[in-house]
Amino acid sequence: MEIIHSIRPLLAILVSLAAAILILFFGKHRNIREFWTLAAGVVKFGLVLSLLPMVLDGKAPVTEILTLADGVSLKLRVDPLGLFFALIASSLWIITSIYSIGYMRGLNEHAQTRYYFSFALCLSATIGVALSANILTFFIFYEMLTLATYPLVIHKETPEALRAGRKYLAYTLTAGVFLLAALVATYSFAGTLEFTPGGILAGTADKPTLRLLFVVFMIGIGVKAGIMPLHSWLPTAMIAPTPVSALLHAVAVVKSGVFGCLRMLWFVFGTGLLSDLGVWIWLAGFAAFTIIVGSMVALTQDNLKKRLAFSTISQLSYIVLGGALLSESAMIGSTMHLVNHAFMKITLFFCAGAIYVNAHKTKISELNGIGRRMPYTMAAFTVGAMGMAGLPPVAGFISKWYLCIGALQAEEMLFLVVLLASSVLNAAYFFPIVFRAFFRKPEPGAGEDGLPSGEASLFMVVPLCISAVVSIALFFAPNVPLHFLELAKTVVQQVLQGGQV
């Protein structure tokens, strides 16, 4: 790949950092403050988008900022996988920001300046995670993301929220030290930390050591990726405001986790080494377990956000499973599910938030007839639910299709069964909600609670409709909006070629 030096990757990170400072500065004037959030979102998306033609041309824009240790610098490099993730995060940030405005104002939330400030920091960190050229840079942004999300998780400042925050930090910081140990060991073995398609670790240490290193890596990265049994911070963190949950689940945190997982699997270990060591099957096993158990737990949840959280845990492991199966289609499916799940899940969370703001309902059992009151919201919810179950014409079908073919290619029938069973389970826990919303009569007395009837404000409805429409558009034309499928295929080609050498 041809390397070109460009400052744009760095700018894409700095723009929301600058916005964070401006947000703090204009904390008293809420319209100006929100203007900075949106402006930074648009500029950031534009910057990331401007990198797309270069990457499609086979060029790799690089920014080298400064040297951190011998042979390792703070360095950004835009490769297809990184750009893929950056496109998801930056496009969803705009939608989420608009939605946040509706949500936070609708509820008259306190500490909104801190909220937007942390939000902007999160996005800087996420883009940093996406565009990192080596594990150390990745780690720096990954930890920054942990810290920037902490104020969002404890936003309510109630003892319960503080407990959730503590749990969140306990999990993520522990993961951080595992990741640190793993990355220092990698540096010590391989002498480099550069993400390279096909990996850097092959032949640098004996097999048992590398297997141990793999386990340490996966613990370090698996917490944010929500792989069971490291997932339990995620449902707890649902205490946060809904846009934050949406951000955590669809845009930034968990996606950084699974993205990191793919990075470590394909760019640090490499496909060749993974099948050599035989460790992929361990990870695939854990992922399969998570897919099934996550869905089963989701069935038992009555709190809508909790159910969504367990659904996320289950869906994230699709990505991990696809990454671990190491067959071409599975890897494409895995990469595609990054974007598909992002748009579908954010739709679902937006719907949950809209219902909460407008009807103050958090429990599924209270949702009878809500679809008559909020038809657009619940229509969008239905789209998201269908996507989760992998039904056409929603994007979830595409990734599931590739994943299933991948399982066949890898000749692992068990995982095929897991994927199919999971579709059934997804349907089992999402469709009753849809059914309730549209076909049950509202409970007597509903609509007399003094709350506004009808839809939530346009700030909330428009974003959730956009993300639902995009979820459908990604089914019909996965390549048209931002060349996602093409990027995914390029990633997989690179990785497989690198693995052979």
Binding site: L66, T67, L68, A69, D70, F139, I140, E143, M144, L147, P151, I154, E157, T158, P159, L162, G165, R166, L169, L173, T174, G176, V177, F178, L180, A181, V184, A185, Y187, S188
Partner: protein
């Protein structure tokens, strides 16, 4: 300008000024502060000049009174002590500026004595750093220790007891050091560090030498506050006046650590320290225990100064662990940590002093709402806390990085685990404070007032400078290592 006299000026200026201060203090109570600050700033300039010279021409040897070593006293400055001296001067200047308001409030009427003794303490620290003579180190060690005893004793009502404990234990430490010097003198007839290092080569088998090495380790271990010789430290750091804690905590144990490195790697050489005796192996295990012990005890503290003091015990463990691993990465990690920890602890103790200045409390559970009344101080606290935990991109991350790298290069996986656990324990006790400072639910009546009430500028600016330093050092760490720290690694350590 002639730079050849800088090594003596860096000590002489503060010493002479400290003698003049009591006289000036008779007719003007305000001047001593300015004189002390100016003296320290002059030393800082001199130290920078020395640093520059060392970087360009290599180590400097200065003969006191023109007498040739080994008979006369030699000041010997290489990269290691030039570096630590610059650090000490830098922190001193800022903490001295910081101290004025704090000491005026906490001990009104004592300013003259305070600045006189503070400057003596500074002289002692700088003296230990520049000199190349074992007995001369002892003299400066006593100057600094005695002035520290005096400064701690003017603290709160429990300070007398804490000081008494420190005097007893500290004097024992000094005695051990002196005995070590005596044994070396007996065996070789020399006190000059470089002379000793050549004279000692054939004597490494001798029991006298082994015993003297052990005496040095015990003596300096006490002075550093290395577990289990740390018992004086928590009381002394906690009950001293805020400004004194902010001065002593970042600097004194670091200078003792420097002397330790000097003795183990220059006076004795690497082959003796690592091969003749299992001392380094034992010390690294002690350091590992110190790291865990300090962190665990820190968690259980309700007084923030006590918590920081135990955290220091743990951090000294990091420094000792790094040097005793016997490889380049570990050594670099230690020296880097001397630098980083001085900034972090200086910043943290200064912040605590500012909180005491405004709100008169150091009980962690009374810090609710602090981010409203002192937003900048709280932000500085967050930065320093993150650095203590070792989160990137703050400075603390980079010393941890090198220490872990050193442990892996040495094949000592246990120490990797120790450092990992310790970072988590650090996270536990620092985030506990962060929670109180930033978002503790308002509990009835115990909270601080809400109005913005930031510390006065003369206290706030040093705090912010140190906090900014923590961030800057993180980004500059590779540059610093290439320029200076890389040259400090003793011959024989690969």
């Amino acid at each position: 300008m002639d730079h050849s006299q800088l090594p003596i000026l860096v000590v002489l200026i503060p010493m002479l000024v400290s003698f003049v201060i009591p006289l000036v203090g008779i007719w003007n109570k305000k001047l001593p502060f300015y004189m002390a600050t100016a003296a320290m700033a002059a030393s800082l300039l001199a130290a920078l000049g020395i640093m520059n010279q060392v970087l360009q021409q290599g180590p400097i040897s200065y003969r006191l009174g023109g007498w040739a070593p080994p008979w006369g006293i030699e000041y010997y400055i290489d990269h290691l002590n030039a570096f630590i001296m610059t650090l000490v001067c830098f922190i001193s200047v800022f903490i001295c500026i910081y101290s004025r308001k704090s000491i005026t409030q906490e001990r009104p009427g004592k300013e003259v004595h305070f600045y006189c003794v503070l400057l003596l303490l500074f002289t002692g620290l700088i003296g230990m750093l520049v000199t190349g003579d074992m007995f001369n180190i002892y003299v400066f060690l006593e100057i600094s220790s005695l002035s520290a005893y005096a400064l701690i004793a003017i603290g709160d009502e429990k300070a007398h007891f804490a000081t008494f404990k420190y005097i007893i234990i500290g004097t024992i430490g000094a005695c051990f050091y002196l005995l070590g010097v005596g044994y070396l003198y007996m065996a070789t007839g020399s006190l000059n560090i470089h002379d000793l290092s050549t004279l000692l080569q054939p004597l490494y088998g001798s029991k006298v030498i082994v015993v003297s090495a052990i005496f040095f380790i015990i003596g300096l271990g006490i002075k550093m506050g290395l577990f289990p010789l740390h018992t004086w430290l928590p009381g002394a750091y906690t009950h001293a006046p805020s400004a004194v804690s902010a001065y002593i905590a970042p600097l004194m144990s670091k200078v003792a650590a420097y002397v330790f490195i000097r003795v183990m790697f220059t006076v004795f050489d690497v082959s003796f320290s690592f091969e003749n005796l299992p001392i380094m192996e034992i010390l690294s295990w002690i350091a590992a225990v110190a790291i865990i012990f300090g962190s665990i005890v820190a968690i259980s503290q309700s007084d923030i100064k006590m918590m920081l003091a135990y955290s220091s015990i743990s951090q000294i463990g990091y420094i000792v662990l790094g040097v005793t691993m016997g490889n380049r990465e570990g050594f670099i990690g230690s020296v880097l940590h001397i630098l980083n920890h001085a900034f972090m602890k200086g910043c943290l103790f200064a912040i605590v002093g500012a909180i005491i200045y405004r709100h008169g409390t150091r009980a962690i559970e009374r810090f609710g709402n602090l981010h409203r009344t002192m937003p900048l101080t709280s932000a500085a606290f967050a930065v320093a806390a993150l650095s203590m935990i070792g989160l990137p991109p703050t400075a603390g991350f980079f010393s941890k990085w090198y220490l872990v790298l050193g442990a892996i290069s040495a094949g000592k996986w246990v120490f990797v685990v120790v450092i990992m656990i310790s970072s988590l324990l650090n996270a536990v006790y620092f985030f506990r404070v962060v929670e109180h400072v930033f978002w503790k639910p308002k509990s009835g009546g115990t909270d601080l007032p809400i109005e913005r009430n930031e510390a006065p500028n003369s206290m706030l600016i040093p705090i912010l400078v140190l906090a900014a330093g923590i961030l800057a050092l993180g980004f500059a760490s590779h540059w610093i290592i290439e320029m200076v720290i890389g040259q400090t690694v003793p011959a024989g350590i690969l």
